[in-house]
């Protein structure tokens, strides 16, 4: 294992100390491992809290700021945050209009956020809604599993729900935007290499040089199947076709197309992939209205990518285009 770390057990707090140093506009509580926007709580605004295991940077702390999240809770690497953290974050961003928890659909995340919501309900009058993101079409037979995982759509949902909250929409309205984005988003990912959890010290799974893993999640958990390495054009088809097969993306106001890097893939390959993805979409009669290309939801140093599509409408397009000022997403300001 070659990593820029001091000690495996200290990776998360030491990275948070770096975020604090780099972004004085954020409040970083290294003890609670909570990152809060500097001006929180914003009076009268719905607070958005997300969180999850670390190792997916810039998600979630990199999305804290005006127009997106009010707070992010960082768990250990690939381990959900604990309820105390979520309670601390919820309290810190409660501006009197309620708080929305944005939770990726993983067993641990769902349970810890549920316990936190129970604690908040018992301790204060803060109104809390939760939206569970589950956009990963790689999970089949979701009745017999923990259900579809929350992957790329999380980033897009946090942006659009964040814009809705910034406009002053009430908790019900912000929740509705979040649920709409989740309902209209589908994703599929692929890994070229494994990743190494610092505390484990060795790759989570073995992937031979000539194979890739299709349908991966974001924690080094294996995917749907292993196939021989293929050209990008074929990979684009492997990722886009199951997405299009799951939801009708034709017509309407087009899609937001997101090609996300898993952490170990350079931007040059992501743009190459994006061109291939657009090619597959054109052939399928899908119009691209907006795009996002980059590594926004990573799996440590895993090489590979995911493709997320969201079926947009006027409202979502305006929310996507609205100003955002966070460490990782920043436009219009």
């Amino acid at each position: 294992m070659k990593k820029l770390i001091n000690a495996a057990a200290e990776v998360v707090p030491e990275a948070l100390r770096g975020m604090a140093a780099a972004h004085p506009e954020l409040r970083v509580d290294v003890d609670n491992r909570v990152v809060v926007r500097g001006d929180a709580p914003v009076r009268g605004k719905v607070g958005l809290v997300s969180g999850g295991g670390s190792g997916h940077e810039p998600m979630h702390a990199g999305f804290v700021g005006p127009g997106m999240l009010d707070a992010a809770c960082a768990g250990e690497v690939f381990t959900s945050p604990v309820p105390d953290q979520v309670v601390a974050a919820t309290t810190a961003v409660d501006g009197g209009a309620g708080v929305l928890h944005i939770v990726k659909n993983y067993t641990g995340d769902v349970m810890n956020f549920e316990m936190a919501a129970e604690l908040v309900a018992a301790e204060s009058g803060t109104e809390v809604n939760a939206v569970v993101v589950d956009d990963d079409v790689a999970v089949q037979d979701s009745l017999y599993t923990a259900g579809r995982r929350g992957v790329g759509a999380t980033v897009l949902l946090e942006k659009m729900a964040g814009a809705a909250a910034e406009q002053g929409r009430p908790l019900a309205g912000v929740t509705e935007v979040a649920r709409t984005v989740n309902a209209r988003a589908r994703s599929m990912g692929l890994a070229l290499t494994s990743c190494t959890v610092p505390a484990a010290g060795k790759p989570t799974f073995d992937l031979p040089e000539n194979e890739m893993e299709v349908g991966i999640g974001i924690h080094g958990e294996p995917g749907r199947r292993r196939v021989p390495v293929a050209p990008a054009r074929e990979i684009a088809e492997m990722l886009v076709e199951p997405v299009l097969g799951d939801l009708d993306f034709t017509g309407g106001d087009g899609v937001l197309a997101f090609v996300n890097g898993m952490g170990g893939t350079p931007l040059i390959e992501l743009y190459l992939m994006y061109a291939e993805v657009v090619g597959v979409l054109e052939k399928a009669g899908v119009t691209v209205a907006r795009s996002l290309v980059g590594s926004y939801m990573t799996s440590l140093e895993m090489a590979g990518c995911s493709v997320t599509l969201v079926r947009m409408d006027d409202d979502l397009l305006r929310l996507w285009d609205a100003p955002v000022r966070t460490p990782a997403l920043r436009w219009g300001v």
């Binding site: 295991g53 768990g75 250990e76 690497v77 690939f78 381990t79 959900s80 945050p81 604990v82 309820p83 105390d84 993983y106 067993t107 641990g108 349970m111 810890n112 549920e114 316990m115 790689a138 999970v139 089949q140 037979d141 017999y144 599993t145 923990a146 995982r149 959890v197 505390a199 484990a200 989570t204 799974f205 999640g217 924690h219 080094g220 958990e221 294996p222 995917g223 749907r224």
Partner: protein
């Protein structure tokens, strides 16, 4: 005369479990890397080390307080699914066991309540390839042995055997809960890490929840 358990035995159980988790930390993580996300050993070890540190600060007043401390510490320190599940187990155990000394019947009642807490929190069923596949057979065996008139030590021994058998029986199962479920058929052929740590918990109970003689 009824044999009763108190703080020394309870503390012995928790410390024995912590030692077993520490000893098997890498094994738990290796099992988890096969069908999960390679953190079960490190997470449980971090949580149980925090529990031991809390106990070192001074023994709680009674069994209920002790197990509440264990549960709350695990919920705060472990994260993942294991934190809420083991945390809920001990919190429910504390509630059902109460603050008085425990006899064999209390042990069975408290364990059952703890396991029901795990069911409520995780919504898993027997055969889903989870920690319940070790815990449920252990509870059943404990209750059956006590009903047959066996002393607590023997009944807990039967529970430990059932937990270990339940753990091993997860190997051919296809996971339907947790991250392992995403693997579908590829989860078959691996022992479940949660059932493995749960078996350690019951084995620790069998060695430590033995009433003092005399």
């Amino acid at each position: 005369m009824a044999q009763e358990l108190g703080i020394p035995e309870f503390e012995g159980w928790i410390r024995a479990f912590a030692a077993a988790v520490a000893e098997h930390r890498d094994e738990l993580t290796t099992l988890d890397s096969a069908i999960g996300d390679a953190d079960h050993g490190t997470n449980m070890d971090r949580g149980m080390a925090a529990v031991v540190a809390a106990l070192d600060g001074g023994p709680p007043a009674d069994g209920a307080a002790l197990f509440k401390l264990v549960g709350a510490t695990l919920v705060s320190k472990v994260g993942g699914a294991s934190g809420p599940l083991y945390g809920t187990f001990f919190l429910r155990l504390a509630g059902a066991g109460g603050s008085g000394p425990w006899d064999a019947g209390t042990v069975a009642k408290a364990l059952r309540a703890g396991v029901e807490g795990v069911v409520a929190r995780g919504k898993a069923e027997p055969g889903d390839k989870t920690m319940l596949d070790a815990l449920l057979p252990a509870c059943d065996a404990l209750e059956a042995a006590l009903a047959a008139g066996q002393p607590l030590a023997d009944a807990l021994g039967a529970a430990a055997t059932a937990a270990v058998e339940g753990r091993d029986a997860t190997k051919p199962l296809q996971a339907r809960k947790g991250r392992a479920s995403y693997l579908g058929e590829r989860s078959i052929g691996h022992v479940d890490p949660g059932a493995t740590s749960a078996a350690l918990l019951v084995e620790a109970a069998a060695t430590a929840l033995v009433p003092a003689q005399g």
